[in-house]
Symmetry: C2
Subunit: 283 residues, 2 copies
């Protein structure tokens, strides 16, 4: 990527802070804004950004030509509706949102002519949040998904791919917003829903001393940022409900075989799960 | 433990092999039997045991005074019914079974006068099976649960605790068979049922390239020994069905809040799961 550009990070939280840290560390000029003054102060102090503001940020917006939105989807839509006209023509914008349908089209429609939004999703979440934890985020083993629409230019997609490479992601993929949301409903959201429900089902905290790796691995993601995940679930409601229904049907089938004492039927499910799980090891 | 005793391992699989390996390594005299001649040959070749047999093992049984059953619960019950009378008075016996009610009482009842069965469960399973994988088993971070009944003597419980220490387990607990089975239904069996159903629900193996740590952690245990886990599930059917029902009710509640667009209700579940999960970190 061209080092003459100025990156603006909108939202200096866990991921916004990490983007700022990595890009500044690579010699890019990075500025940042956040409604929380202490996040801006932290980013300045750590030299994640060279300039920042919590208000009166119009000049920062106008002087940036590469922008990364690292805020929740609802905040992204609101922000673009309110300040989108400030962007200079030629500005390229991406985001970090974990859901894409319902976000990408409206953002693209709200931006002025000549300003391009190319959506992407860095799959590098953690159980923590906030810029003070940014340094713990590791992009090296993670997936980066670019989700273009018909409105996007090849040049913008290339820039987004270059950005992902500069950030150090392991694998970069291109999916449509719809494909992305279906995928994320299964590999991420359904897993989080299950982990949450394992904890909510009953208060078994007295059993903590007996747990082994299986249980702890399964429930690690039950520590969850409540505001962000409510957003992600609600924006992808249809896909996630579909996944929950398919999973629940499978669990009901296992329960029925168990209740019937159907040993062969249980063994059949175990062999199928073993076979399918092998595909997820080979990568 | 007294090194004048001879340990007999009945069942030279993953765990039986590991018990033999560790005890032989510590200077105990260990013999072993298994219906599979190649497992016996492997144990002899690796010096996990100093004598072994796949048949005509009466002399080995009669000359042992400390016995560990490392076979499935059904096989344990059959074996004791058939050969239990061979044990010499004073013999102490334990097992490795992952379920206890329904096993411990009948085994105790089937043994001759003066032969004591003190049940225990080393919580150190793996996705692999067979003695050729025994060396990979690690007892150091694992729990060891002793499940005495009213038939057991303090001396036998002490011996079982000494055995667990010699094997190197991190934590040793004493629970009744009923408490054990309730605990294992939640911390282990429900987790395995969920992982299996995540794989059986639909064929999403094409999504493997997009998965991150959360998904892989959640489904690691979907690679499962079909025969053993059908046994474990069926022997603990009532507890596991109860756990599945509580979990399913929680998932149905989450689904309902999602379908209703109930943001506050989802956030409430996420805060509860986060709070409860913290208890499982502190250990």
């Amino acid at each position: 990527m061209d080092r003459s550009h100025t990156f603006l990070i909108v939202g200096l939280g866990l991921l916004g802070g990490k983007y700022a840290q990595v890009l500044s560390g690579k010699g890019y000029r990075v500025t940042g804004i956040d409604t929380d003054e202490s996040a801006v102060a932290y980013a300045l102090e750590k030299e994640y950004i060279c300039a920042g503001a919590a208000r009166d940020f119009e000049a920062l917006v106008q002087s940036a030509d590469r922008v990364i939105f690292a805020v929740y989807p609802t905040a992204l839509l609101e922000w673009v509706g309110r300040y989108g006209s400030l962007f200079a023509p030629g500005t390229l914008i991406t985001d970090v949102s974990g859901v894409k349908r319902g976000v990408v089209g409206p953002v693209q429609a709200a931006l002025p002519e000549g300003v391009e939004f190319i959506a992407s999703h860095p799959m590098a979440g953690r159980e923590t949040s906030g810029i003070t934890h940014s340094a713990e985020v590791d992009f090296a083993p993670a997936n980066f998904i670019i989700t273009p629409t018909e409105q996007n230019t090849p040049a913008a997609i290339d820039w987004c791919r270059d950005l992902a490479r500069a950030l150090g992601f392991a694998r970069i993929s291109v999916l449509s917003p719809a494909e992305h949301d279906r995928m994320i409903g299964y590999v991420s959201q359904l897993c989080h829903a299950i982990a949450v429900c394992l904890m909510c089902a009953s208060d078994n905290t007295e059993l903590a001393r007996y747990t082994g790796d299986s249980f702890r691995d399964l429930t690690r993601i039950a520590r969850i940022n409540d505001k962000m995940w409510a957003e992600l679930f609600l924006w992808n409601k249809d896909n996630l409900i579909g996944e929950i229904d398919m999973f629940s049907a499978s669990l009901a089938e296992l329960r029925a075989r168990l209740a019937d004492g159907d040993r062969a039927g249980l063994e059949e499910m175990f062999r199928l799960s073993t076979k399918r799980r092998e595909a997820f090891d080979k990568k």
